[in-house]
């Protein structure tokens, strides 16, 4: 193995390779190119041979498969990735910053004694080492963390890197895992979908989405008035649903619904990454927020910097 090799660990759920897997492959390829190494991709558990076919895309030099169980289990992933890293000795270990990634990447890094930087939105190779770009303060500030030399682990934010495409003919290497699957400390019993209620916000053309800026539950009346006047459908960011003010089925974002309405009106929503992941592909985004630095304005077609308690009633009046 040459210095500068990259190992990217993919993920899947319920028989489907998740999108972040091909994004990891392209991020990994760019890093391997910059450091003159090879790109190794790994897939753990499930139908690994089928996944290996799907992962035979441009830029992948080798696919490593570890057949062990069906679905994600962090004990299996930690053991498998540790074994692969010990075997392949990659300088750079790329993992997904998905919910499952968050459940094993820090443990792998700690166990391998590699520094870890999470949730990268951009990774550059510089003369001083690696520059990992990430966001802080609810996406208000971007910071760059430099990693000088030596082995490290980086987790990559889903949806930020172009997915790898094309086809290639990488070497596929099957690895055995020396782990008793019946003696794990955690057992996945199954999955359940959250009850989403009777409104399907993914079908709506015009979503009026409300966030923390509404402050109090009784203020939702303002939004209902606007929805009545315009025929829009009400959706929300996470805090509103966490507070129990609207049902879970109305939540837009990473852990809720992904929506693509014609118009998405974001009221009092700052635009943290988890929310944006669920609505950035709306045809038109309009935002109302008091904070001119709110990241929601970065992706908005139209923005109103103002107090929703003044703007919303004025808007409702225009439609009444």
């Amino acid at each position: 193995m040459s210095d500068g090799d990259v190992l990217a660990v993919t993920e899947h759920r319920q028989g489907e390779l998740r999108d972040v897997s091909l994004e990891l492959a392209s991020a990994g390829r760019a890093l391997a190119d910059a450091t003159g190494g090879d790109l190794h991709v790994a897939v753990v558990s499930g139908d690994v041979d089928a996944y290996a076919d799907e992962l035979s895309v441009d830029g992948v030099d080798a696919v490593h498969t570890v057949a062990a169980g069906d679905e994600f289990n962090h004990d299996v992933y930690v053991a498998a990735v540790e074994a692969l890293v010990n075997d392949l000795a990659p300088t750079q270990l790329l993992l997904p910053n998905s919910v499952d990634g968050m459940d094993y990447a820090p443990a792998v890094a700690e166990s391998l004694d590699r520094p870890v930087v999470t949730d990268a939105v951009e990774v550059d190779v510089t003369d001083d080492g690696l520059a990992v770009h990430r966001e802080m303060y609810g996406s208000k500030v971007e910071t760059v963390i430099s990693i000088a030399d030596g082995p490290f682990a980086v987790t990559v934010r889903p949806g930020e890197f172009e997915p790898a495409s094309g086809t290639s003919d990488p070497e596929v290497v099957a690895h055995d895992l020396n782990l008793d699957l019946d003696a794990l400390g955690s057992t996945v019993e199954g999955y359940e979908a959250v009850d989403t209620g009777d409104v399907d916000i993914t079908e709506a053309d015009f979503l009026i989405s409300i966030g923390r800026g509404i402050e109090e539950e009784e203020n939702l009346e303002l939004i209902e008035d606007l929805a009545d006047a315009t025929g829009g459908t009400i959706s929300a960011s996470r805090p509103i649903v966490d507070n129990g003010w609207l049902e879970k089925g109305r939540q837009v974002g990473q852990s809720g619904k992904t929506v693509t309405p014609t118009v998405y009106l974001a009221i009092g929503i700052s635009g943290a990454v988890q929310h944006v992941a669920g609505m950035k592909n709306a045809d038109m985004i309009i935002a109302i927020n008091t904070d001119p630095n709110a990241p929601i304005f970065d992706i908005s077609d139209y923005g109103i910097v103002g107090d929703l308690f003044e703007v919303v009633p004025a808007l409702t009046e225009q439609f009444d």
Binding site: V99, M102, T118, M136, Y137, V141, G185, Y191, E192, G256
Partner: protein, 217 residues
């Protein structure tokens, strides 16, 4: 059983903040109890109220200023707290997950905690790595992004839901001792009562240096 809740003071920045080479000027920064940790505190206090936890201990890494934040957790029902700090840490990059995991692990071992609750992530740096790194360091089991928790102390296990992407939940059983990283929405964090705030003034916050707990930094 004994429950340890990790608590972080989280920085929030004013709308009109300015950035220079050193980062964000302190005048734009306000500190508060990290939103995710508020849910972890509530989870711990509810376990005590249900008679499952005998004691709920808070732990934070931070300077004396952080007493104000951890006292908010004490006012909500955490029994006592440990604050780890020395000036050598001030110069270090606290984004270093491993340093935090080592310090918290030393406290968890010192306290002989059966269950450690931490927030999924901090609202300021959004690293989301400390809890799981801590579990690995301790040799405990864990689950990240927990949206439902049912502890069965007698059976030595917990039934847990993890909140996955797209409205999907994963159900799993996890052996204790364990670290759980708690997602917002798992409960409704209480407001501190006046009585709670008064009581918090007399609750112990034990300052410890890394050396006190046997960690070289």
């Amino acid at each position: 059983m004994k429950v340890l809740v990790t608590v972080k003071e989280s920085a929030d920045i004013a709308d009109d903040f300015a950035v220079d080479d050193d980062g964000i000027d302190e005048t734009y920064v306000e500190y508060d109890l990290n939103e995710w940790d508020d849910y972890a505190v509530e989870t711990g206090v509810q376990l005590a109220e249900a008679g499952i936890a005998d004691e709920v201990v808070g732990v934070t890494i931070g300077p004396e200023r952080a007493d104000e934040t951890i006292r908010k957790a004490l006012a909500k029902g955490v029994d006592r707290a440990v604050r780890v700090w020395d000036d050598a840490l001030a110069g270090q990059d606290l984004l270093d997950v491993s340093t935090k995991a080592h310090l918290l692990a030393a406290v968890a071992e010192d306290e002989d905690a059966d269950l450690v609750l931490s927030g999924v992530q901090a609202s300021d740096d959004s690293f989301g790595a400390t809890g799981v790194a801590l579990a690995e360091r301790l040799g405990y089991e864990w689950a990240a992004v927990v949206s439902d928790l049912d502890v069965n102390a007698d059976a030595g296990e917990a039934r847990v839901n993890r909140e996955l992407e797209g409205g999907l939940q994963e159900r799993l059983t996890v052996d204790l001792p364990a670290v759980f990283t708690i997602q917002t929405g798992i409960n409704e964090p209480r407001y501190a009562s006046l009585r709670g705030i008064r009581q918090a003034q007399s609750k112990e916050i034990a300052p410890k240096t890394p050396t006190d707990i046997g960690v070289e930094t």
